[in-house]
């Protein structure tokens, strides 16, 4: 239990000792600068760590995750990924960064409704310019391992919520990103489906040198953390478990 609460920035792989992410003085506001959602954040995220962010609804968890995933830009401060500044990159480079380094899982509506399960999994590969044949084999294998093989040809709206979420997890890791970002991945699921989704997430990240950042309200998720932080009044504070 103790190592799960480990707040240190150890890197299990031992390879690169530079942190994956380094946030310094990051603030974010929408509209009114007097009332920032995040204020003056400093945060290092080490490779391979499983960081969980908690906080009341509206505290800014999604906002922080969006900044990490380069889906949005900070109002002030610097965000570095492996030493490279993100906040100054143009949109095409940010897209390339997301495409290669990040895998996302959202709370719901992750999958593109007009593409089948298999096609959804193939998307990141196509965007990264990987050959279709090898990618298809890999996707089939991932689906089989997750026990979802027979869903390959179905459309997302023909899947149960839990199945959708597990496919989303697979899509987030299929292109072997360095970081997986999951915003309330179990928010819409029952206990059993939440457990299976988290198992899948954990199987593909956190312990293979691939860091995992999650935001949640759920105890179940908190239980998977190697580090736990809380956003309170726009600031990050270490949370006691």
């Amino acid at each position: 239990m103790a190592d799960k609460l480990n707040n240190g920035a150890e890197s299990p792989d031992g390879g690169d000792d530079r942190p994956d992410f380094r946030l310094s003085g990051v603030s974010k506001h929408y509209g009114n600068p007097e009332r920032p959602v995040l204020r003056d954040l400093n945060l290092d995220i080490a490779a391979g760590e499983r960081l969980v962010i908690i906080g009341r609804s509206g505290s800014g968890k999604s906002t922080l995750l969006n900044l990490l995933g380069a889906l949005d830009r900070p109002s002030a401060g610097e965000i570095r990924y492996r030493g490279q500044r993100l906040d100054t990159l143009d949109e095409s480079r940010l897209a390339a960064f997301r495409r290669r380094e990040i895998g996302f899982v959202f709370q719901a509506f992750n999958l593109v409704p007009t593409l089948t399960v298999l096609e959804n999994l193939l998307l990141p590969a196509e965007l990264n310019g990987l050959p279709r044949r090898t990618a298809a084999a890999r996707c089939q294998r991932l689906l089989a391992e997750a026990g979802l093989a027979e869903l390959a040809a179905r459309y997302p709206d023909e899947l149960a919520g839990g199945e959708q979420q597990r496919v989303a997890v697979l899509r987030a890791v299929v292109h072997e990103p360095s970081v997986v970002i999951a915003d309330e991945p179990t928010g819409n699921l029952d206990l059993d489906n939440a457990r299976r989704t988290l198992d899948l997430l954990q199987a593909h990240s956190g312990d293979r040198g691939r860091s995992l950042v999650m935001a949640t309200h759920s105890r179940q998720v908190i239980g998977r953390a190697t580090r736990l932080l809380e956003i309170r009044d726009g600031r990050l504070v270490p949370a006691p478990c």
Partner: protein, 839 residues
Amino acid sequence: MLSRRPPHYQAWLVLLAGLRFHARHPAQLLLTIAGIALGVAAVLAVDLASDSANRAFAATARLLRGQASHEIVRPGGLVPEAVLAALRREQGIAASAGVIEGRVRLADDPGRAYRLVGRDPFAATRVGARLAPFGDAALWRRLLATADAVLLPAPVAQALALNAGDELVLADPWPGRRLPVLAVIDDDRQRLIHADLLTARELFAPGGGFSRIDLRIDERSAARLRPWLERQGLVLRSVPERLAQLTGMSRAFRVNLQALSLLTLVLGGFLVYSTVAFAVVRRREIFGLLRGLGLARRQLQLAVLAETAALALAGVALGLAGGIVLGSGLVRLVLRTISDLYLVAAVNEFTLSVAALAKAVMLGTGAALAAALLPATEAALTPPAEAMHRSAPLRRAPRRYRQLLLLALVGLAAAAALLATAPALPFAFAGLFLLLVALALAVPPALAPMLRGCGRLLARFGSLTGAWAARGAAAQLVRTGPAAAALMLAVATFSGIGLMIGSFRSSVGIWLDYSLDADLLLRLPAAPGVDEQSLLDELRELPGLAGWRLDRRRPLPDAAGLGSLRAVRSDPRHGRWPLSAVPRAELLRSLAAGPAVIVSESLASKRGLRAGDRLTLLTPSGARDFEVLAEFVDYSSDLGTVAMDLDVYRRYFGDRALDSVGLFARPGSEQQLARAAAELAARHRGMRVISTDFLRDISLAVFDRTFTITEVLRLIAGLVAVIAIVNALQAQRLDSARETAVMRALGLAPGQLLRLSLFQSGLLGACSGLLAVPVGLLLAWLLIAIVNRLAFGWSMGFAVDVGLLVDSVLLAALAGLLAGWWPARQALRWPPARGLREF
């Protein structure tokens, strides 16, 4: 306990939510209002134009009605003056007045013929010609006292830029003769000149006689008079009968306008429907949510209707303003056209008709409310949970498509039945209307497989993002369907009308080749007459001349007197006229052989004449039957033309006058002949040489002007197409905000997104454009084969202009691309995080 009747503030809440929604999507709001406005404006403008044409024809009819109940004419000649005296003395008919009229050409405006009518003003008042509005009695007294004086109707004076005290100079007859303008009078007819009997007699009847005698008698006296007149070779015609025919002639023109107004109605209706339906459908989820919160169905419908009514009000108000502006332009075009084609009274340029306004308002609000009510009712009927689920409509689409297809098939069957069986125009119109609506209904079910097919192909050949774009377009058809239907209709109208005009124009071109087959036309003055024998002697001397054709034209001498008769002496070796199914040489030979005629198609279809039938014409020696040999093509008038051999004509009608001589040059000698003919004409007063190329150009110019209003409608259709596609793409962008954000989170680059959006919009445009090809062909064919045939009696060849069809597909695709650009840029303006918050 819960109250069964929810308080009214709930409806207000929905309304408030609606207003906020619009405030957050201002572009969408503007587009909706613009869509309604354009639909309303188009319908109003075309109706106003159509109204003004109707008023012009009605005013003409009123003027004619004021004159006389009957008229006496003598086929092929003038009515002897003694008849008038005998009428008054022997028959006791005081209400009778002799009239002498004829065509004149003016030196200032030689291209057009004017009608100069000479009356005895005091006798004329007795038959009821309304002199008062034309000026007072003192004026007429001065007219009688001044030699050669004329009175000009205001529009004529204006057109010629003449005032009282100026002079008219004649070009034909009596070239150079000056007629002083005594006054400009309050008459609203065009191309008409008033004179007294004496002046007209000097111009047209130096030997005495009247063109006609106007009478005001009842039917009993008419019956008594008839045998007495017939004994003298005279004919009594009833004016109301002629009037009926005049109305018949204007009908053709009105039918064309009605067809246009119908097209705009369908087009406008779909445009309004598509814009409003989209604005409402967008909020299905919100409605589902509100229903989930306990809002009653009634309340929801009420709120949506109230909101739509507000939108419609704004759109209709704008549309009415636009329609009035556009309409006043169209009215001017139409009036100019009909005064080119028919001799009609000028009408007040522009009057707003309550009926047209009401129709436009009803179209705008009706289509808007229907467009709002259907989706709102659907939202109200679906269980709240399902309505909240975003992809619900996606799954349900196929069933709805089957219903749409079924409806379309029923509509098509009904339309086909109407078009096939009913020979009358109202049925043809109803059929056309049904057909267009049915085809528009079939657009979403037809587009869906096309787009999905593209998606499947793309997925197979490796572009999942392309497949995403194509399938997205297919899935969103549930929302963009009406806009796609409007686009298809607009493009079909655009190409269909273009094909129709093109076909007609090429038919007219061919006809002109046949009817203006001579190289030069020598127009002879009506007076002083030209001695035929010496003219022929002079012609024989012309260098470079291969042959000639003598031509006499006059109003058709039958009971109605509308239409024209053409008597021709044509050398079979030269020229091409007439254009007919029967070989030309054979036709000319049979015409020369006996009392036979050929009739234009329009006359044949109006009177139900066929080859072998007999046509009765009134000759000076009584009614005569002429055998109809064949039909020939003649677009010069929709009243119809009858042609016969000149010698046969002279034998039966005793009229030796000639109007023109067509000259055929020997190959290579055209220039030489032209110079020689000009010299010949210069030796005779009032004789003119006209190049047939020039006539051809003029004819085509008049043709083009006739169809200007149709061209304007084409442009409106183009505009509808653009608004429809912008609307559809705006719909797509808003609808796919979340999906797009997910794609961007996956790393779709801005450039890729832009390309995909353009691909998607171009694809939607191109597919709608492709569907519009067969519809446009069908529309053109129907307009040509049914509407024009029924209305004008003209048949035209169907010239399929492949280039035009390709152009319209490209146009649709291009409109799609252009319209897709802006929403795509818009989508890129925000970071993906924002799209993830959109539901």
